[in-house]
């Protein structure tokens, strides 16, 4: 049937400075269809969808709605074309009820009558099978309920084209199943649904067609029925890229950190770490792979003493004293006082690892400012350290008295990694240390990690680029929804294997028989 697609993108290109986020992307989505946009982190999925919903404006290319070319300059324009997007980060007012949030910003809809609106919301919810109390306050809601509010908000405004950005990233398997059944009903109702995701099993389960992006480029579109997970993985990750990262074999390894049975809930009460166990050895790089938000951050913060755990243990084998210490629920200071030399490069460099408004010297002191017996700061050594890091790591900065906030991303990271390495750690943890860095800086970081490994440090590396993880690490722990789905030898594994483990959900296994 030669139907006119509900939405069609032609040769969309978007650049941010030197970075090409989308290059000549073409897409179509029909009425009554669920289209998945599949791609790894940073493949340009969200940027693309933001251009449809009016947050960004494309540099080149055309957008057609029902066959007519349109210009979408603002979210308001997008609403006008009945396009609604549900973002990953919810935009809700906490102390308002669901109804109040849903009608927020609407004008000229007759008299303000929350009861009437609530009834309409109930009707929408019933039509598609949502479970929602319109009078419940947002702060009392689970993540899934909040997401429901966001979806109904879009439907209430009469959207026919819904874009969902990683809708299942925050949901439990049960909630995911409920969401999917709702989406199917909407599809039956003639809505166009576009889901951004990187979970293969969900793609297979829910979508009619899949469009794949890789590093900003459009790879192709396939019908879900005619493909399988490994074919999609290949499209998504591409051919293995040979990286020139040197990797020596681990020598004289011993168990440094024994993590057993970690359980942790976040503030919303979602289980973010679920019985996580692994061992990190000295003289090796242990990779941690997983889609964003699978518990990587909580895992590292738990080890660093920043995250309270429900249960489990983190045993540290002190190489000097040969004693064992349990680091669970200890503060960073207590951990240090135990003689554990733990370095941590957090994901949020300027918000946590460094203080943006302080200069290089003062940032060097963050970990060590208490050294010395006087009440005064000892700045000469940090200053030397700053100078040394600037020289060794080729940090581009006007001077060491420049606030780090003014440095570029790569240089900020060099300063942070340099400081953490200078503490002569026995355990070195880094979360996404090359995110946003150019090739040269990235390689510099890889080399630094390798040097640490060769010195006998136990390195834990959380990364997102599978090529890098496989080329750099010795072993890789794969996390999915807070669970360890596998620990693989990096030298023997493939991207496909890791990719599948990353998207594996226990919910799926347990209830594999259903539907």
């Amino acid at each position: 049937m030669a139907e006119v697609p509900a939405i069609e993108l032609k040769n969309i290109t978007k650049t941010f400075g030197p970075i090409v986020a989308n290059k000549d992307v073409c897409l179509t989505a029909n009425r009554g269809e669920i289209l998945s946009i599949l791609g790894e982190n940073g493949s340009g999925k969200t940027t693309l969808m933001n251009m449809i919903s009016g947050i960004y404006y494309p540099d080149h290319g055309q957008i057609f709605i029902d066959g007519k070319e349109v210009e979408i300059k603002s979210p308001k324009d997008a609403f006008g074309y009945k396009i609604g997007m549900i973002h990953q980060h919810f935009k809700l007012v906490d102390i308002f009820t669901a109804t109040e949030n849903i009608v927020l910003g609407l004008k000229d809809q007759g008299r303000y009558n929350l009861k009437k609106s609530a009834a309409k919301i109930k009707a929408i919810a019933d039509l598609y099978g949502f479970v929602l109390d319109p009078n419940k306050k947002i702060y009392d809601m689970s993540v899934s309920e909040k997401q429901t509010v966001e979806i109904i908000k879009v439907l209430y405004r009469g959207a026919d084209i819904l874009i969902l950005d990683e809708p299942t990233a925050v949901l439990t398997p049960q909630e995911t199943r409920r969401l999917f059944s709702v989406l199917r009903r909407m599809k039956a109702d003639g809505k166009t649904i576009i889901i951004i995701t990187h979970k293969l099993n969900e793609v297979m389960e829910i979508s009619d067609r899949v469009s794949v992006l890789r590093k900003g480029e459009y790879i192709g579109t396939v019908n879900t029925k005619e493909t399988n997970e490994s074919a999609l993985t290949e499209m998504m990750v591409g051919k293995k890229i040979e990286l020139n990262i040197e990797r020596s074999d681990p020598k004289d390894t011993e168990d440094r950190l024994i993590v057993a049975g970690l359980n942790c809930k976040n503030r919303e009460g979602v289980q973010v770490l679920d019985n996580v166990s692994f061992t990190a050895k000295s003289g090796e790089i242990l990779g941690v792979a997983g889609i964003a938000g699978s518990g990587q951050r909580e895992l590292l913060e738990a080890i660093a003493g920043l995250q309270r755990l429900e249960s489990g243990s983190i045993i540290y084998n002190n190489p000097k004293t040969k004693e064992q210490e349990n680091l669970r629920n200890k503060t960073p200071i207590q951990i240090r006082d135990l003689g554990v030399r733990l370095s941590f490069v957090p994901e949020d460099r300027l918000g946590m690892g460094l203080v943006g408004n302080m200069d290089l010297t003062d940032n060097m002191m963050l970990r060590s400012y208490k050294k010395g017996k006087t009440v005064f700061l000892e700045r000469s050594k940090p200053k030397e350290l700053a100078e040394q890091i600037v020289e060794d790591l080729e940090v581009v900065t006007p001077s060491i008295s420049t606030p780090v906030r003014r440095l570029s991303g790569g240089n900020v990271q060099k300063v942070l990694v340099g400081r953490e390495i200078a503490a002569a750690p026995t355990v070195f943890m880094a979360a996404y240390p090359v995110r946003g860095l150019d090739i040269n800086s990235s390689y510099l970081i890889y080399n630094l990690l390798n040097q640490q490994k060769e010195k006998g440090v136990s390195v834990i590396f959380v990364g997102e680029d599978l090529d890098v993880l496989i080329a750099l690490c010795d072993r890789i722990v794969v996390l999915s929804s807070g669970k360890v789905t596998g620990i693989v030898e990096a030298r023997d594994t493939t991207k496909e294997e890791v990719g599948l483990l990353m998207t594996k959900t226990f919910g799926n296994e347990e209830e594999g028989g259903e539907e």
Binding site: K76, K91, L92, D94, I95, V103, L104, G105
Partner: protein, 331 residues
């Protein structure tokens, strides 16, 4: 009994300026702005009214004033004065995103100075030998009460014996309460104060809401100053006479947990606490006990502030973005 009735009447009269002030401040805070300039704005509202009425009385002679104009002119000049103050605050904190606390305190310095300066100047012009301006004729117009109030006995005295501005204050508070909780505008306004980014994303013009509410809030607070001088003080302006009532109004905002309808009883209560020392005598305590009684409103406010922060009930917290400037980050 008469004593009690009189006490309540006086408490209400004390409470009215506080009610204007706190209603104005509640609206402002609901838009996310902690306006510590309210005491200054109330001063300006008062003196602007005094200036208007002074020149009107001066022009036509105190004996020949038209009661309608005598009320209208001070109200208009008062509104004008507070409006300018509100505009200054908005321009600095909304458009230029200046620190709200510093701006507010500077506005209070400026406003109190402005009030006392023009007050002092008028006193000089009038050539009065007392350090005060007396506008008894105008005040009489302001103080007109319902004729039947006194014939209705206690009920009449308690409910109907006040001048019209007192009822205006209560009506404004009720309207403000209604608008905040039962209209789309109120919903949008609360969203702006809670989470401006979300409001912005929902297509609400955040800066316009902040401007309009803060200016309306200033005008309402300014009327409190006008009521004080025209009614409570019987048209007598003396420098510094208004005292710390502006800060008491800020305190009521907390006590009323950001609800204008709650501000009505709270203002009367605070008005009562402010004067209760005149009516209570504790054996063994002399006149100095007055000063301890005057402390009560602040202590009560602190207790409420502490309890609300301990209970962590979300509805009784200050608006979430109170005191923070909003800036939509460019991508």
């Amino acid at each position: 009994m008469t004593m009690l009735v009189q006490f309540i009447q006086r408490a209400v009269m004390q409470g009215v300026p506080l009610l204007f002030g706190s209603t104005g401040e509640i609206l402002t805070e609901k838009s996310g702005h902690l306006n510590l300039g309210i005491p200054g704005i109330m001063y300006v509202g008062a003196i602007s009214g005094v200036i208007g009425s002074f020149f009107y009385e001066d022009k036509v002679g105190a004996a020949n004033i038209n009661p309608f104009l005598a009320v209208l002119i001070p109200i208009l000049t008062s509104i004008l004065g507070s409006l300018v103050m509100g505009l200054i605050y908005c321009f600095l904190t909304v458009t230029l995103r200046a620190n709200q606390n510093v701006t507010g305190l500077a506005l209070t310095t400026f406003g109190v100075g402005f009030g006392n300066f023009f007050g002092g100047s008028l006193i000089k012009i009038s050539g009065s030998d007392m350090p005060a301006i007396t506008l008894s004729a105008t005040s009489k117009c302001f103080k007109t009460t319902l004729p039947f109030a006194n014939s209705l006995g206690v009920v009449g005295k308690l409910l109907f014996s006040y001048s019209f501005l007192a009822y205006v204050a209560i009506i404004i508070a009720i309207i403000a309460s209604y608008v905040l909780n039962h209209t789309r505008t109120g919903l949008h306004l609360r969203a702006v104060g809670e989470n401006p980014a979300t409001a912005d994303a929902a297509g609400i013009n955040v800066n316009r809401y902040k401007y309009v509410t803060t200016i309306i809030g200033s005008i309402i607070a300014g009327l409190g100053g006008l009521y004080y001088v025209m009614d409570y003080a019987s048209g007598i302006w003396s420098n510094g006479g208004f005292g710390d009532r502006g800060w008491l109004a800020v305190a009521i905002v907390i006590f009323a947990i950001w609800r204008p309808n709650m501000a009505i009883p709270a203002s009367i209560l605070f008005g009562g606490l402010f004067i209760v020392y005149n009516y209570v005598s504790i054996p063994g305590m002399g006149i100095e006990a007055q000063e301890l009684f005057k402390m009560l409103p602040y202590i009560v406010t602190l207790v409420v502030l502490i309890i609300t922060s301990m209970r962590e009930k979300r509805e009784s917290q200050p608006p979430q973005s109170l005191g923070l400037s909003y800036f939509r980050e460019e991508r």
